[in-house]
């Protein structure tokens, strides 16, 4: 059985199994199966590395009748990153979300929801079919909303409800666009849409799909649901929501604007997308600066960090796709997606450790905790280096590539925002770091197992390694990259 089928189905099989298992067997089964999925993700990445994109026509029916799946370098890299984050979150959650700590409801609910989220992510990364992508993001959104509601507090339920309204409105807009695309061309396949005969309704279809996906990706001004939702969930769930979930809808945007309908990418539309991203970088950074709780700082930082991803549109899309700087911009944005995923998951997991240790994540209460929990303090600092974009991290590689492309393209405003966003990130992350590394401890901390503390450290170290060993992911990301539009065709 191919690695592609394993990463697609094993999370589902495990989710169904977990629902039938007695409580004590749950965690061992999830951990064993997570390890297998990480291995399968590695095997899939290797297969793509050696043999190029891996494709599968599900059920043996080729599009337009059936659904095509395809693992290109980008999908393989995202599947690998998600598998590492999921595996780490499962390892942390076995300490954090035990039934005797958080009750039977949360101790049960987290595991199947986490696995369903994983299945939805992999389904979205691999799918080449617009309607199948809709079903994938529906599963993703429902599992994500339930994870927000998991902690059960009134604020969390309110945040989950607001998230669900945004997510459902986004789904409806996206679905309306899909229906228009199908109505005009009789196919939902991205590859077939790329070679379609253009119709008048295509711009409306692309606009509706894009608006829906922006709401799900929480791009400014659709970001308002994100901070309360991500800060209200239990820390392992927050790690998944912040590190992985927005990447799925962003990937669909890439599939639409670079692969299915690149001919519609007008300069003005691309500019609007990147301008919203730039506002998100600044606005998210400023709001992160004034928060008093660690989880809210980290959540607002997600609003800002997602903004950088949208610089890909004017730098590598539309007319720019044939330019020499396009490859750098494209790869830079993808490096940002990967390194942000690893670093942000690490940060939320450290927040979970602090909450378990002192029962609070207020900055005032965190003072001096790096002395009692040095490993966790180190993990937070490493993750912060990636988010600030300092060398030698993956975040540095991402911002360096985006910045050089911006200068090469003569679009220096994006470079200014990249620099300003880095300064803001340094400022809003300085506050928790200064508190953690303060001289005197404020609160007595409960002991935390070393194995638990090691989990975010490994993730944060991986986000740095991504920058040190950037050549391998760089080459992987080029495999199957949408070919630039040929001039004069």
């Amino acid at each position: 059985m191919s690695a592609l089928v394993v990463v697609l189905t094993l999370p589902l099989v495990t989710a169904l199994t977990v629902l039938l298992l007695p409580a004590r067997a749950r965690v061992p089964v999830v951990l064993a199966s997570s390890a297998l999925i990480v291995l399968a993700a590695g095997a899939l990445a290797l297969a793509v590395w050696h043999g190029g994109p891996v494709t599968l026509a599900v059920g043996g029916w080729a599009p337009p009748l059936g659904i095509a799946l395809r693992a290109d370098g980008l999908a393989a890299a995202l599947i690998m990153m998600s598998a590492l984050v999921m595996g780490a979150v499962a390892l942390a959650a076995q300490f954090e979300l035990t039934p005797d700590r958080v009750g039977a409801r949360m101790g049960f609910g987290f595991w199947p929801l986490m696995l369903l989220l994983w299945a939805a992510l992999n389904a979205v990364y691999l799918s080449r079919d617009l309607f199948n992508l809709y079903v994938g993001v529906e599963l993703l959104s429902l599992a994500a909303v339930a994870l927000v509601a998991l902690s059960g507090s009134a604020q969390a339920l309110a945040a989950a409800l607001r998230y669900m309204i945004f997510a459902l409105a986004g789904s409806l807009l996206y679905l309306a666009g899909v229906v228009l695309a199908y109505g005009a061309h009789g196919t939902l396949d991205i590859g077939l849409l790329a070679v379609r005969v253009p119709a008048h309704t295509d711009a409306l279809a692309l606009g509706l799909m894009t608006a829906g996906l922006l709401a799900k990706t929480a791009l400014f001004p659709f970001h308002v649901w994100l901070p309360p939702a991500h800060a209200g969930a239990p820390a392992p769930a927050s790690a998944l929501l912040s590190a992985l979930v927005p990447k799925a809808s962003f990937l669909i945007l890439i599939r639409l604007w670079f692969e299915a309908m690149p001919d519609l990418a007008s300069g003005a539309a691309l500019l609007v997308l990147a301008a919203l991203g730039a506002i998100a970088v600044i606005w998210g950074g400023v709001l992160a600066l004034v928060q008093k709780r660690l989880k809210l700082i980290v959540a607002y930082s997600t609003v800002a960090q997602l903004g950088y991803l949208f610089f890909i549109f004017p730098l590598a899309g539309g007319d720019g796709s044939a330019q020499p700087w396009a490859a750098g911009a494209w790869t830079g944005a993808m490096f940002q997606a990967l390194s942000h995923g690893l670093a942000k998951a690490a940060m939320f997991l450290t927040a979970g450790i602090y909450i378990a240790a002192i029962g609070s994540d207020r900055l005032g209460d965190l003072r001096g905790l790096a002395r009692t929990l040095p490993m966790t303090g180190f993990a937070f600092a490493l993750a912060a280096i990636t988010l600030m974009g300092l060398p030698p991290s993956g975040g540095f590689t991402a911002k360096y590539l985006l910045m050089t492309s911006a200068f090469a393209a003569g679009q220096w405003p994006w470079a200014l925002v990249l620099a300003g966003g880095g300064v803001l990130a340094a400022a809003y992350l300085y506050r928790p770091i200064a508190a953690l590394f303060a001289q005197r401890a404020q609160t007595a901390a409960r002991p935390i197992p070393r194995a638990w503390q090691a989990v975010p450290l490994v993730l944060a170290a991986l986000s740095i390694l991504l920058g040190l060993l950037s050549a391998i992911p760089f080459d992987l990301l080029q495999i199957g990259r949408p070919a630039p539009a040929q001039e004069g065709l």
Partner: protein, 309 residues
Amino acid sequence: MSLALDLALCALILGVALATVAGGGVFRAVIFFITYGLFLAIGWARLGAFDVALAEAAIGAGLTGVLLLAAHARLRRMQAGDAPPPAGLNLPAALAGAGMALALGWAWFALPVPATPDIASALPRSGVGNPVTAVLLNFRAWDTLLESIVLLAALLGVWILARDGDWNAPLGPRYHALSGGVLVNFGRFLPPIGLCFGVYLVWAGADYIGGAFQGGTVLAAVGLVALMANVVRPPRVSYALLRAAVVIGPAVFLLAGLLAAGFGAGFLTLPPALAKSVILVIEAALTISIAVTLALLVIGPPDDAGRSS
């Protein structure tokens, strides 16, 4: 004649939709929404999409209606439903809705004649005669498999909303039914009929109209009537048989797909000779899960407070 009927139907759909969103009162809006679903179902039937019409009537109007009425009753119990609705028009929402309607209306006239995939020539190899079932269970089986999982995720999301102390309580609120009353009699009289109809819909779905979703919804309604009439007791989330019933549909579907991959045919590939029997087995399993999941979605999370009060 038929044009007049269609125009009247369109006017009714639009009027009822307007009555749902405009004007005061949650209860009024719910009743209009149910009516809206029924008119929409007639509309689908007029378009020849009988499978969609069945699903719209059963899920859009039926189960969603029950759900909304239950939500309204709960709001009233908590004295939260009495708050007067905000006066006047919600201008941003109205503008957004009108803009969307105009854009889609324009698209209708701008759309080229649709080219649909060639289902007719592939249908003989799909194992079933109903093209809708062929698309759902064979050509695009991966979509349907994921959709059955979406239903499961929704159920987990509803269960998660329980209070921590109620986790081991029976599911849903306590229903009051007068012994010898209309509800109790219905609870004993309707289920056998509904059971036959639901099973027929699934069986006929292979070649005619119907299928696991439509049949499952009818069976869910049967379960709900029996539950509300206190003919059967509500289960608890820890009940093993309940968990198995919720899981069996997606599990059998997934297993069939993986077996095909294991035998070298490819994930979810049904050999034409076996397709019909495999599809029937998957549909039977899916029907159980869909019926149980939909009924459980309507009755809601474990709730002890609703019982003691």
